[in-house]
C-alpha cells in the first residue's frame, strides 16, 4: 500500500517537474528572441521623450551612454539612485536631463522629465507618469494640454524663487480651476530641480564651456 502511494506521488511529482522544465525552456527561448527588440524599443521610446524637451540639434552625443549616477536627494524626490543624462556638443556639457518625482500630487507621485541647459534655463519639462484625475488634473500631460510648455525657457533668474508658485498662491504660474494641487506639485518639483542644478552646477556641468 505504502509503496504504491509513494510510486504515485513520485510519478505525480515527476510529471509536474517535466511540465515546469518544458515551459521554462519555452519561456527562455521567447525571452532570448524578444530581448533585443525590447531593448531597442525601450531605448527608442526614451530618446523620443528626450527629443520632446531637448531637440537633437542641441547635442551631438549619445544621451543614453553619457550618464551620471546621483544618489537619492530630497530635491529630486528620488528614493533610488537615478541616472542623469548629459547632453554634450564637442564634449562640452550643454544640458542635463533628469527625472524627478513630485511626491505631493493629488493622487500620488508625479514623475517628471526635466531638461536644464548649462545656463540654468529650462529646455523643457514633460510628465512621465501620473495618477491625477482624468479630465481635471491631467492637463499637466502634454497630450491633454499645453500647460507644461509654460516651463520652456523658464529659469530662476527669469522668475525669482518667490514667484515659483501657481497664481492662486500669488505666484506666476497658471492653473486650471478645479485642479490646483496637481500644478502646485509640478511647479514645486521643477523649482526644486532647478535649485538642485544651480547648487550642484560644479558637478553637473563640470565639462561646460568656460563662459559659465
Amino acid at each position: 500500500m505504502a509503496s504504491t502511494l509513494l510510486k504515485h506521488a513520485l510519478k505525480t511529482a515527476a510529471t509536474l517537474i517535466a511540465f515546469a522544465l518544458i515551459w521554462t525552456l519555452l519561456l527562455a527561448l521567447v525571452h532570448k528572441s524578444t530581448e533585443a527588440p525590447i531593448a531597442v524599443s525601450e531605448a527608442e521610446a526614451r530618446l523620443s521623450l528626450f527629443r520632446q524637451i531637448l531637440p537633437d540639434t542641441m547635442h551631438d552625443n549619445d544621451l543614453l551612454k553619457n550618464i551620471l549616477k546621483v544618489p537619492p536627494n530630497p530635491q529630486l524626490g528620488n528614493k533610488e539612485p537615478i541616472d542623469i543624462n548629459i547632453a554634450k556638443i564637442n564634449n562640452k556639457t550643454v544640458a542635463i536631463i533628469l527625472e524627478v518625482i513630485a511626491p505631493d500630487g493629488y493622487s500620488g507621485n508625479i514623475e517628471l522629465l526635466i531638461a536644464i541647459r548649462a545656463d540654468g534655463t529650462l529646455s523643457g519639462v514633460r510628465v512621465l507618469a501620473h495618477k491625477e484625475t482624468p479630465g481635471l488634473g491631467d492637463y499637466i500631460d502634454v497630450v491633454r494640454g499645453n500647460w507644461i510648455k509654460h516651463f520652456d525657457n523658464e529659469s530662476l533668474i527669469k522668475t525669482p524663487p518667490t514667484l515659483w508658485k501657481v497664481k492662486k498662491d500669488s505666484g506666476k504660474f497658471d492653473y486650471m480651476a478645479g485642479a490646483t494641487i496637481t500644478p502646485r506639485a509640478v511647479v514645486k518639483a521643477v523649482f526644486k530641480a532647478l535649485t538642485y542644478a544651480k547648487e550642484n552646477q560644479a558637478m553637473l556641468f563640470a565639462d561646460a564651456s568656460a563662459s559659465h
Binding site: H8, T12, L16, W23, V30, P37, S41, A45
Partner: protein
C-alpha cells in the same frame, strides 16, 4: 460541424464571459476606458485562452488530477508571459497602455475556468475553438464597453489606435467636434454603469426572444425566466 458552431455561439453569446458569466470583471471594468484598450486586452486574452486550451487538451491524459491546477496555472502563466514579452517587443506604447493588465490575465478566472471545464475533457481542436470563442465574446464586450465609455466620456472613438496598428492607422480615429466630455463615463463608476447597461440590453434581447417563442408555441411559462 454543428458542434463547432455551438462552441462558437456559446462563447460569443450564450455563455459570454463578460455579460453572462460575469467572470474576469477586474480587467473588464478597469481597462475599458477606450475602445482600443478594451479590444487589445480582449484579443490578448483570447490568444491566451486559445493557447492554454490548445496546450492542455493534448496532454490532459498525462496530468494526474491532484496536480492539474498547478499544471494549468503553469501553462497559462507561461503563455501570458510570452504574450507580454511579444507585445513589449512589438509595440511599446501599447505595452505601456495595457500596463499591469497583461500579466494579470494569469489570474483571470475565465482562463482557468475554460481549461478546467472544457480543455481537460475535450480534444484539441474544439478546445482551442472554445478558448478563442470565449475570448472573442470577452473582446466584443470589452470593445463595446470601451467604445461607449470613450465616446460618452471623451467624445472620441479609436483614439490611440496608432499605438496598436502603427501611425498610418491614425485616420480611423473619430472625434466629435466641440464635445466637452462627460467625465463620469471614463471614471470607474462609468465602467459599472456601462456594464450594467450591456447586461440589461442582452437580457432584454433574450427575454424578448423567449417571449416571442413562447407566444408562437402557445406556452406561457418560459417567457418570464431571464437567461442568466
Amino acid at each position: 460541424m454543428g458542434m463547432y458552431q455551438d462552441i462558437l455561439k456559446n462563447g460569443v453569446w450564450k455563455q459570454n464571459t463578460g455579460v453572462v458569466q460575469l467572470l474576469g470583471l477586474c480587467p473588464t471594468l478597469a481597462v475599458t476606458t477606450s475602445a482600443v484598450n478594451g479590444l487589445s486586452l480582449g484579443l490578448a486574452t483570447a490568444i491566451v485562452m486559445a493557447g492554454a486550451n490548445g496546450s492542455v487538451s493534448p496532454v490532459r491524459r498525462f496530468v494526474p488530477a491532484e496536480i492539474r491546477v498547478p499544471v494549468f496555472i503553469l501553462v497559462i502563466a507561461a503563455l501570458v508571459t510570452i504574450i507580454d514579452l511579444s507585445i513589449h517587443a512589438g509595440s511599446k506604447p501599447l505595452y505601456d497602455a495595457l500596463g499591469i493588465f497583461i500579466p494579470l490575465i494569469v489570474v483571470n478566472c475565465i482562463v482557468l475556468a475554460r481549461v478546467e471545464s472544457f480543455a481537460a475533457k475535450n480534444t484539441s481542436l474544439p478546445s482551442m475553438l472554445d478558448g478563442f470563442s470565449m475570448g472573442l465574446g470577452l473582446t466584443l464586450v470589452l470593445g463595446l464597453l470601451g467604445g461607449v465609455r470613450e465616446v460618452v466620456g471623451k467624445g472620441t472613438l479609436f483614439s490611440g489606435i496608432d499605438l496598436a496598428l502603427g501611425a498610418s492607422a491614425k485616420q480611423f480615429m473619430m472625434t466629435i467636434p466641440d464635445y466637452q466630455g462627460f467625465l463620469l463615463a471614463v471614471l470607474p463608476p462609468g465602467a459599472f454603469l456601462g456594464l450594467a447597461m450591456l447586461i440589461a440590453g442582452r437580457n432584454w434581447f433574450e427575454l424578448r426572444k423567449l417571449n416571442r417563442q413562447a407566444a408562437s408555441s402557445g406556452e406561457n411559462t418560459a417567457g418570464l425566466k431571464p437567461n442568466l
